[in-house]
């Protein structure tokens, strides 16, 4: 059986990693991308995702030198995103060594871009990242780092993105991000059995049991971890030991 993946999610600001809350500052410096990547590689992370959080607003794509230094020293898959809005951007990430690219705003606002990327690079290399917010019972997608609501049904949007050629979906709760208050389980539960590509839950995971609940109650293939890893006393070795004890299939590394 394929193991559930644990994916440290790095937020890049300039040349440093940072962590905030609900997509906002204040951002705390949490280290150097290369040294952090080497640490999680050694701990047995399944992948690393790195996203430049200023790229879209500055009209550029992620700094590919950062990707390249990580790729050279690490022996695990690395996906990269932030501001990727053209095939050239995507090409520069792959040329720097990224295994997958992550597209967010440009995919949600223009699903045909996903189609283009899938055709050029293969669906398995294209990760679409979708952010959502909740107001009471209502959940809705947002773009531009959580600032712009999108008037679409979340599930319908996800299905359209899969149809367009997304190889994986990272689905992030903006409200939970950086809060360590647990994932928005209702959303992942409601999508179980509906998304034909791997779904990665992101936002809010803050304890071992948050992860157990996520994997027991949904069919998510992976989870992205941020604050829990970089600002709390957790590591991937102990997380996996706990998940194994609770019968969640994880890789023994």
């Amino acid at each position: 059986m394929i193991a559930k993946r644990i994916i440290p999610l790095f937020l890049l600001k300039g040349k440093r990693l940072v962590k905030g809350t609900q997509f906002n500052g204040p951002f705390v410096d949490v280290g150097d991308p290369l040294s952090q990547a080497m640490i999680y590689d050694a701990q047995g992370a399944e992948e690393i995702a790195v996203v430049d959080i200023e790229a879209t607003s500055q009209n550029r794509c992620i700094n590919t030198d950062v990707i390249n230094t990580m790729i050279r020293k690490c022996r695990l898959p690395i996906s990269a995103g932030g501001g990727i809005s053209t095939l050239e951007h995507a090409n520069s990430c792959f040329a720097a060594g990224a295994d997958k690219i992550i597209v967010n705003t440009s995919a949600v606002t223009n699903p045909s871009f996903v189609k283009e990327l899938g055709k050029e690079f293969g669906a398995q290399s294209v990760v679409v990242s979708v952010d959502f917010k909740r107001e009471g019972d209502k959940v809705f997608p947002v773009t531009h780092s959580g600032t712009k609501p999108v008037d679409r049904d979340l599930e319908e949007l996800l299905l359209e993105l899969v149809e367009a050629g997304a190889g994986e979906i990272i689905l992030t709760s903006v409200d939970r991000e950086g809060t360590l208050s647990g994932a928005d389980l209702d959303v992942y539960k409601s999508l179980t059995g509906k998304i034909s590509v791997p779904l990665i839950a992101s936002g809010g995971l803050g304890s071992y049991d948050d992860m157990v609940e996520l994997f027991k109650s949904s069919d998510c293939s992976a989870c992205a971890l941020g604050k829990m890893l970089v600002l709390r006393d957790y590591d991937i070795v102990r997380i996996k030991a706990y998940l194994t004890g609770r019968k969640i299939p994880v890789r023994d590394a």
Partner: protein
């Protein structure tokens, strides 16, 4: 051992080169098909589309050069799409002729109980105690929507279970070796596989 990693910009040549260099072998990307003679092992790595990759190999003159090298007995390792190109044909975007070193065709993974792409770390099953010495039950990193349906089971050296399907994880025929997983992305176990391969060739 001198290792040449074919560079036709279809994926991550850098990681493969770095993995071999980490094992203290002399690996380099090779962009000139006329220089393949200089290497003891050739590596064809790549992700993406079967027909695009085959087209690029022809365009850059690597298709014929590789056929000559393989016919002369030079060891060749294919990784992911690189391995799939060993097939008779690929069925992504119509039918494209492959190298035909290992009979079979490359087709889309059937969506059954599991999601497609087959993405992540999965354990292999193998009876090959040389190439998989010490890692014969290990998990390696897979990332693919198409799989190699190999015609002769003698050519298969490792498989991987995914849902109801048993997919090909590794093939070997004479001097041609292929892996569906990414050893260069599979941490210590991936390096061990590459080390085993290099030692078996030494």
């Amino acid at each position: 051992m001198k290792i040449g990693v074919i560079n036709i910009s279809i994926g991550n040549v850098g990681s493969v080169v770095e993995a071999f260099n980490y094992l203290r072998h002399d690996a380099a990307p090779v962009s000139d098909p006329g220089k393949l003679d200089k290497f003891d092992l050739l590596v064809l790595a790549g992700v993406g589309n079967f027909s695009t990759a085959m087209g690029k190999l022809k365009e850059f003159g690597f298709a014929d050069a590789l056929k000559k090298q393989v016919a002369a007995g030079k060891p060749l390792l294919g990784i992911c799409l690189g391995m799939q190109l060993f097939a008779d044909q690929g069925l992504e975007d119509g039918t494209t002729e492959g190298f035909g070193w290992i009979p079979g065709s490359v087709e889309k993974i059937k969506e059954s109980t599991e999601k497609v792409p087959h993405m992540g770390w999965n354990n292999v099953t193998t009876s090959d105690k040389v190439l998989f010495a010490g890692v014969d039950e290990s998990a390696f990193y897979f990332m693919h929507s198409y799989h190699f349906d190999v015609a002769n089971s003698d050519d298969v050296i490792a498989t991987v279970n995914y849902g109801d399907s048993r997919l090909i994880a590794a093939v070997r025929k004479d001097n041609v070796y292929g892996v569906q997983f990414h050893p260069e992305k599979s941490q210590g176990d991936g390096l061990r596989f590459l080390k085993n391969l290099l030692e078996s060739l030494a």
